[in-house]
């Protein structure tokens, strides 16, 4: 009697209302406002080159953020993301310069990311380490490996077929769509389906919402956590390999500090610090916001020295706005 699905609840129903009710609507508004401002105030923002530059740069951050988001939904965090991106790209590059063929080298990079993530998961689930501590350890270790393996020198001379993964633009109706963007969309769809439609995804939200109750429901929460950190490592690996392909060189310092961009994208995208809430779409919008901001500050002529200060301010304001909106909606 009392149960009706959203769609058939009577009176004043519209697509618009559904849109406004969406979790991601608040962050979407912020992005929309930023883009509108930049279109009106600069001539250079709304050009296909600039837009695709933004989206290409978003690609690896967003892919890594999809994994990070899962860790944060379980009430954890993955600080090792930036180092893992660097290490995975480096692993692929080192295989390539030893004449390993491209698919195997790429796989090597991805497995490296997965392995670090798996270790994170083991330490957190079985070793009962707080995620912050465990991933801080691997953050340093993975970065240390980058320096140790290279002696501090960048790895150069990567084959063109590998660099194409990050540099090739597919011509579509006269404009070149960057290949990394397509990879990003692929992983976006996979991650979103994974979280929303699979048993694993349900378990991830449940662990973040209430770990005790989930365990008492007969779910192996350790396995959920190991999976989440393995995926976070793997997706950071994907991002790292793509980024390395784009740059054409694997520096031991690559992606240094990127974990903060990735974590910022997740939080700006509306994922709750308290766990149990967050969507892949929100994270994608969050990642785009961060990149548009960076790009916009350059285009509007703000000094690079002020970049971080403005970024910090926007992160805080965006999250405040989103929470305010959610609180009012729940009233």
């Amino acid at each position: 009697m009392s149960v009706k699905t959203r769609g058939i609840r009577a009176g004043g129903h519209s697509v618009w209302k559904d849109l406004v009710r969406m979790e991601e609507f608040g962050v979407f508004l912020i992005l929309f406002a930023m883009v509108a401002f930049l279109i009106l105030s600069t001539d250079t923002f709304f050009t296909s080159t600039n837009i695709f530059n933004i989206l290409r740069a978003v690609s690896w951050i967003a892919i890594a953020a999809f994994g990070q988001c899962m860790a944060i939904i379980t009430r954890g965090i993955d600080l090792s993301t930036g180092s893992v991106m660097g290490l995975s790209g480096l692993a692929s590059a080192m295989l390539l310069v030893r004449n390993v063929n491209v698919p195997v080298a790429v796989l090597g990079g991805l497995l490296t990311g997965f392995a670090v993530g798996f270790i994170n998961g083991l330490m957190i689930a079985k070793g009962k380490l707080p995620p912050f501590i465990a991933t801080m350890g691997t953050w340093l270790m993975a970065r240390g490996l980058c320096y140790g393996l290279t002696g501090g020198w960048p790895v150069r001379g990567l084959p063109q077929t590998f660099r194409d993964l990050g540099q090739y633009d597919i011509p579509v109706a006269g404009v070149g769509v960057p290949l990394p963007l397509l990879f990003m969309l692929l992983f976006f769809a996979l991650s979103a389906l994974f979280l929303r439609r699979t048993v694993w995804g349900y378990h991830i939200y449940a662990v973040g919402g209430n770990e005790t109750a989930t365990a008492l429901s007969g779910i192996n929460t350790d396995r959920v956590k190991i999976l989440v950190y393995s995926l976070s490592g793997f997706l950071a690996g994907v991002g790292g390999v793509l980024m390395t392909a784009r740059l054409g060189v694997a520096a031991p310092t690559a992606a240094d500090g990127y974990e903060l961009d990735v974590i910022a994208a997740v939080f700006v995208g509306g994922t709750s610090v308290l766990g149990g809430e967050g969507t892949i779409l929100g994270v994608l919008i969050g990642a785009v916001i961060m990149q548009v901001l960076r790009n916009g500050l350059v285009l509007t002529g703000v000094s690079a020295y002020w970049l971080q200060a403005v970024q910090g301010l926007v992160i805080v304001l965006a999250i405040m706005f989103d929470q305010l909106r959610k609180r009012r909606r729940r009233g």
Binding site: S2, T5, T198, G201, Y202, N210, A213, L216, G218, I219
Partner: protein, 517 residues
């Protein structure tokens, strides 16, 4: 004070939330040194009224007089300064600090001289004064003791002392007995008596009627946001109060319907865990409700946790249908056909942020999935089926569980286990903190499950519930099974005697009655 004077008068209090009129012109009067019991089903408006009084909510309409002065209570701090203190069901204590630090939280005495300037806490004075407040409530708690080392009852005493420290004249207690064992309840009632003598007014929210008649001077009944009755306790009868609460007659509140008791379903032998459970053995039959009685801390919850594999057992054997099963984790337990309705649904039973349908499906997700993909239609249908069967009141299946009332939340926990079709259901305090109507529904459901051949273990601290619902009563004390009584044999007095160690079945030559082991 010869003439009882009104310390609090609330007149025509109204409060609306989107979609509901939570309070509709409610009056409440409280005199100094008076204990007023505020009763009503969940959602009747008790908590809303109290939250307005202690500044957590603002009223839409109505007036509040404190000592005959009209007062607009603007914030919790303002309420506290006006002498109103509230003790919530979940205590507001910081576990890693001392009792003294908690009692003086936000008003710590400062050192004199330079220390005052630097904001140094005068720990000696704080602990000394805290000790005085603690002894005023008759608590045997050391002021320097850490909260995490105290029992629930002791923590509650710290809460009361905290209220005294800010010089509260009105203390609101929100279901203060729900977390206490029978003997601790007695201590609390003693404290309430002491507070009364000091002229402090107490507003007592409870679901247990026998408590109302034990300690209240007056009872005020709310239903659907309206005050439906208020009377002196000497003029009230339990039947009348229940009738006012639910608006209908409720006879035979605790009654298990006849079910055919079948063959042994679960046999437990020598279950032990160091320091908590000692050599527990019993047999549960098909269609049987086995009540677990005992004081808080007697090892009942610990036994349930061992059975369900939450904690590791040191020794013991569990057989289901005669077959030995190894239960080392809840995953094993679910596989063996067990279900567990834990004692605290918010912390252990539900993912409050998730919708009703996903909570119901949580233990059985695999059955709604092929190759890892969840079939959302099948999940929704199952949830829908149990929402209907259990009469769970929710606007829709996607409603987050946190927005449901306590009784409906508990039904979601039940639904989740029924959906997994267990053969043995362990229920730890299945009706704690839910209203009489929902309680009756839960009991009816338990009867029905027993009739269908399920075996049920029911832990309860409410003796009437134990006596009314159980086919046999297992009494625990100090981690051991001290008695297993048949329904006809069990009485309230007998159970209490076993539970408190006054009778000890297992030991011959008991030296004297009343000797604690």
């Amino acid at each position: 004070m010869s003439e009882q004077e009104l310390i609090l008068r609330m007149e025509g209090i109204s409060k609306a939330f989107p979609g509901v009129q939570a309070l509709d012109s409610v009056d409440l009067k409280v005199a100094a040194g008076e204990v007023v019991a505020l009763v009503g089903e969940n959602g009747a408006g008790k908590s809303t009224l109290m939250k307005i009084l202690c500044g957590a909510y603002r009223k839409d309409d109505g007036r509040i007089f404190l000592n005959s002065h009209e007062t607009e209570i603007e914030s919790p701090l303002h309420a506290q300064r006006s002498g109103i203190a509230i003790i919530y069901q979940e205590f507001n204590l910081t576990p890693n600090q001392s009792a003294a630090a908690n009692i003086f939280l936000a008003c710590e005495p400062r050192e004199r001289g330079l220390g005052r300037f630097l904001n140094f806490v005068d720990r000696r004075r704080m602990e000394r004064e805290a000790q005085e407040h603690l002894s005023r409530v008759g608590a045997r708690v050391h002021a320097a003791a850490l909260i995490r080392d105290l029992s629930v009852a002791q923590q509650q005493m710290v809460e009361v002392a905290k209220a005294l420290a800010v010089d509260a004249r009105i203390i609101i207690m929100d279901e203060p007995t729900s977390a206490l064992g029978e003997d601790e309840v007695e201590t609390l009632f003693g404290i309430i008596g002491t507070l009364k003598e000091q002229g402090i007014a107490i507003i007592f929210i409870t679901h247990r009627l026998e408590e109302v008649f034990r300690i209240a001077d007056r009872v005020v009944v709310l239903r659907d946001g309206r005050r439906v009755g208020g009377m002196s306790i000497s003029e009230a009868t339990p039947e009348e109060v229940i009738h006012l609460m639910v608006g209908r007659e409720l006879t035979d509140m605790f009654h298990k319907e006849e079910a055919e008791i079948g063959s042994p379903l679960m046999e437990v032998q020598g279950l032990s865990r160091h320091g908590a459970v000692r050599d527990v053995s019993f047999t549960l039959r098909r269609g049987e409700i086995l009540g677990f009685a005992g004081l808080v801390g007697a090892g009942r919850t610990e036994t349930a946790r061992l059975l369900f594999g939450v904690d590791r057992q040191d020794a013991g054997e569990i057989r289901i249908d005669g077959k030995l099963v190894r239960i080392n984790s809840p995953v094993d337990a679910v596989e063996a056909g067990l279900g567990f309705v834990p004692e605290d649904r918010g912390i252990q039973g539900l993912v409050l942020k998730l919708p009703v349908q996903e909570n119901i499906a949580l233990p059985t997700l695999d059955e709604h999935a092929s190759a890892g993909w969840v079939d959302r239609r099948s999940l929704r249908d199952t949830a829908q089926e149990y929402v209907g069967k259990l009469n769970i009141r929710t606007p829709h299946l996607r409603q987050k569980v946190m927005f449901l009332s306590g009784g409906n939340q508990q039904k979601v926990v039940l639904a989740k286990w029924l959906a997994s079709q267990p053969r043995v259901l362990i229920m730890d305090e299945p009706t704690r903190g839910i209203d009489v109507g929902a309680k009756a529904e839960v009991h009816a459901l338990m009867s029905q499950l027993a009739q269908e051949g399920m075996g049920i273990i029911m832990i309860s601290s409410e003796l009437p519930e134990i006596l009314g619902m159980s086919d046999r009563v297992l009494v625990m004390a100090e981690g051991r099974v001290v008695a297993i009584l048949d329904q006809g044999d069990a009485t309230q007095d007998k159970i209490m005697a076993y539970a408190s160690g006054e009778i000890n079945n297992n030991v011959v030559n008991v030296t004297s009655t009343g000797a604690k082991v």
